[in-house]
């Protein structure tokens, strides 16, 4: 169809979809706000048990990957396809490292019995149970988005490689990059709320 060449429409559609993603996480941030107001001390106690080092590492990884995907788009627009492919590979690699880190972090929580139904969490105050419940569901849903974003970028990488996303028609990569920035953006909120402020 000729209409699918309307790059403005494709970008507009992507932005609308991103709004809906923001509101999906919005529900979780709403719960966070209400429960933080109700259990401030327990949230502080819970936040102290998160691994600041891994969290910071993951933040650096995601911000860097946002940079590489933006550079990949610029590279494609300048017709430097090989550079674009390399930068996309770097982005996907960063996302995988993020997930590995997240896995290590979760595993440590499991080992300490800090999971719903886990021995140590069951002994704590209700506020901490809520904190860790929110922590797992928020970071889990975000991790799922990282995975989806990585798969999306991998697919677009294939399209760039086979010459179907090109200098003249880069809108697929633009939209993939937009999605990736959203994943990054949500983490930029999660990181201070769970790791830094408490």
């Amino acid at each position: 169809m000729t209409m699918q060449r309307d790059a403005t429409a494709a970008r507009l559609g992507m932005w609308l979809f991103l709004f809906s993603e923001l509101l999906l996480f919005g529900g979780l941030f709403l719960l966070y706000a209400v429960y933080l107001a109700r259990y401030p001390a327990d949230f502080v106690a819970g936040g102290r048990q998160l691994d600041l080092l891994l969290g910071t590492g993951n933040t650096i990884l995601l911000i860097t990957s946002s940079l590489t995907v933006a550079l990949a788009l610029s590279a494609l627009q300048q017709g430097r396809r090989r550079l674009c492919l390399g930068l996309l590979c770097a982005t996907v690699l960063a996302s995988l490292l993020f997930l590995v880190n997240k896995g290590v972090e979760w595993q440590a929580k499991f080992d300490h019995g800090l999971f719903p139904g886990g021995a140590r969490l069951e002994e704590t105050a209700p506020g901490q149970k809520v904190f860790f419940g929110l922590y797992f569901v928020t970071t889990g849903l975000h991790g799922l988005h990282v995975l989806i974003g990585a798969a999306l970028l991998l697919w677009i990488l294939g399209l760039v490689g086979s010459g179907r996303v090109t200098e003249q028609d880069p809108v697929m990569l633009e939209n993939g990059a937009l999605y990736w920035h959203l994943v990054d953006l949500i983490w930029i909120f999660i990181f201070p709320l769970y790791y830094l402020l408490l």
Binding site: G13, F17, P126, K129
Partner: protein, 537 residues
């Protein structure tokens, strides 16, 4: 038009289209019809369940169903009617069919995404139906899935939640598609002041779909996770708060009633000027009120929770906001009435359904204010009054508008006309049956009969018998209407391209419309209700 194009998009090539030519078609008109057939089928299923519910309530005590079966029946009736009929009904079917035609476009902005929406809808519907026959038996929570019951009950709630999540995703994609289409694909000359009011209503609806549905999505996800591993986010024993579930649920589900009613108002705004032979009164006010309803309607969810233990301040604020939504709704009603004033009214079937909409929706809206004032709400909360009110708005409103749209647009879609006399009789039977069914519900609710019980005290029986008899009248009327429409679309007389002499763009095309709709965008030269210009782009 060439001979082979007589059947338009219904048969785009020489050969008879096969099933695959339909279910994998990216043509907005075929997708619209796919939606129409699917929502129609689920509507009939929902009606059958509703008739069974009423039959159970014809007498106190167990009549045809046990308490557990009754719970499953009303849950299923609600889920099918809300998520599979009313929400996708008018936007999915008539939005897809008519939106591109009305703005002079060739298709929607993302045709393949459009097909994906329908497939997701069907997948969700299939999962909802599967939940009945698998796991711990049919869900028995009601369509609202309130915790703590929904996180505890052994019935197959998780699968139903996943189904709702997927249908919600389909709804978001439709919203994204429509907003983009309206922004990008209007024909030359089709500026915002010339958009048909149906398009305006779809535009407002699409924004609500995009912004509200994700909140339902996350709520369903949280509830699923709750059932799977017990996070305790809504469990007071673990520090959670069940009221928060209700907040999250209604943050979506109240705007969702505007997803249901706004397109219906759009349909009525199309029909009334055409059959009153007068340009619509207050075009800008009607268009703006659609957007105002969408905006204000997003802030009133708390009025579902006046007796849930919310703070008094919150109740006051939500009650006030609820009254504010009544203003743009009333703006529409007054404008419709003003359009009728001194018009040359012809009472053909689409108009009859549209007028019934105005009447029934007004009753539904005014009884809504009784529920919206906190003091009276305490008395009627969770009684049959709510059920009656809700059906006046949703069935008397959206349902009747859906029927109006069927009678108004199907001659365009199929190029054939139904039997007017049979349609008028069907309308009369439906109208009588409807009021017989739902008005006694409101009365019995005021007397104190609670909703969602299979049993009741003997003093409520008389009104319940009337309501049950009404359900039979209503079902008979619906049967007549559908048979008449089916026969008309199969064998009716040729309708011509513009049987109602309407001035919106879809009537410029042949009936049925050609496969490529507007292959060349038309140059639009007049507003949607300049009826002297009917038949010209």
């Amino acid at each position: 038009m060439a001979k082979q194009n007589d059947r338009g998009f219904l048969q785009a090539s020489d050969r008879q289209p096969l099933l695959f030519d339909w279910i994998f078609s990216v043509d907005h008109k075929r997708i619209g019809l796919l939606y129409l057939y699917s929502v129609g089928a689920f509507f009939l299923a929902g009606v059958a369940l509703g008739v069974l519910l009423r039959l159970e309530l014809i007498a106190p005590g167990p009549t045809i169903a046990t308490a557990q079966t009754y719970n499953a029946l009303f849950t299923l009736h609600g889920v099918v009617m809300i998520f599979l009929f009313i929400i996708p009904g008018i936007p999915g079917a008539f939005g897809n069919l008519m939106l591109p035609l009305q703005i002079g476009a060739r298709d929607v902005a993302f045709p393949r995404l459009n097909l994906l929406s329908w497939w997701l809808y069907i997948l969700g519907a299939f999962m909802a139906l599967t939940s009945l026959f698998s796991g711990g038996g049919p869900p028995d929570t009601g369509w609202t899935f309130y915790v703590p019951f929904s996180s505890e009950t052994p019935t197959n709630v998780s699968l139903a939640l996943l189904a709702v999540f997927i249908i919600g995703f389909s709804s978001i994609l439709t919203g994204v598609n429509f907003v983009t289409t309206i922004h990008r694909l209007r024909a030359p000359g089709m500026h915002w002041g010339r958009l048909p009011l149906f398009v305006w209503s779809l535009y407002a609806t699409a924004w609500v779909q995009i912004l509200a549905t994700p909140v339902l999505g996350i709520t369903m996800v949280l509830l699923m996770v709750e059932r799977l591993i017990g996070l305790g986010l809504f469990d007071p024993g673990r520090g959670g708060d069940p009221i928060l579930y209700q907040h999250l649920f209604w943050i979506y589900s109240h705007p969702a009633v505007y997803i249901m009613i706004l397109p219906a108002m759009g349909v009525v705004s199309e029909i009334i000027p055409v059959f009153a032979r007068k340009p619509t009164f207050g075009y800008k006010a009607i268009a703006a009120s659609s957007v105002a309803i969408a905006a204000a309607g997003s802030l009133v969810w708390g009025h579902h929770m006046f007796v849930s233990g919310m703070s008094d301040t919150a109740i006051l604020v939500f009650s006030l906001l609820t009254f504010l939504v009544a203003i743009p709704s009333a703006v529409k009603v007054f404008n419709w009435v003003a359009t009728l004033y001194r018009g040359s009214i012809s009472l053909e079937p689409p108009m009859l359904f549209a007028l019934a909409f105005v009447f029934l929706f007004s009753i539904g809206g005014l009884t809504g204010l009784i529920l919206g004032s906190a003091a009276t709400d305490v008395h009627v909360h969770d009684t049959h009054f709510v059920v009656g009110h809700f059906h006046y708005v949703m069935f008397g409103g959206t349902g009747f508008a859906f029927f109006a749209a069927l009678h108004y647009w199907l001659p365009k879609v199929f190029g054939r006309m139904y039997n007017m006399k049979a349609a008028t009789i069907a309308w009369a039977i439906i109208f009588v049956g409807f009021n017989l069914l739902y008005f006694p519900m409101m009365l019995v609710g005021l007397h104190g009969m609670p909703r969602r019980y299979y049993d009741y005290l003997p003093q409520f029986q008389q009104l319940n018998v009337i309501a049950t008899a009404g359900s039979w009248v209503l079902a008979a009327g619906l049967l007549l209407m559908f048979v008449n429409l089916y026969r008309g679309m199969r064998r009716g007389a040729a309708a011509g391209s513009n049987p109602w002499q309407a001035a919106t763009l879809e009537w410029v095309l042949t009936s049925p419309p050609p496969a490529e709709s507007f292959s060349q965008p038309p140059q639009v030269t007049h507003g949607p209700y300049d009826l002297q210009q009917a038949g010209k782009p």
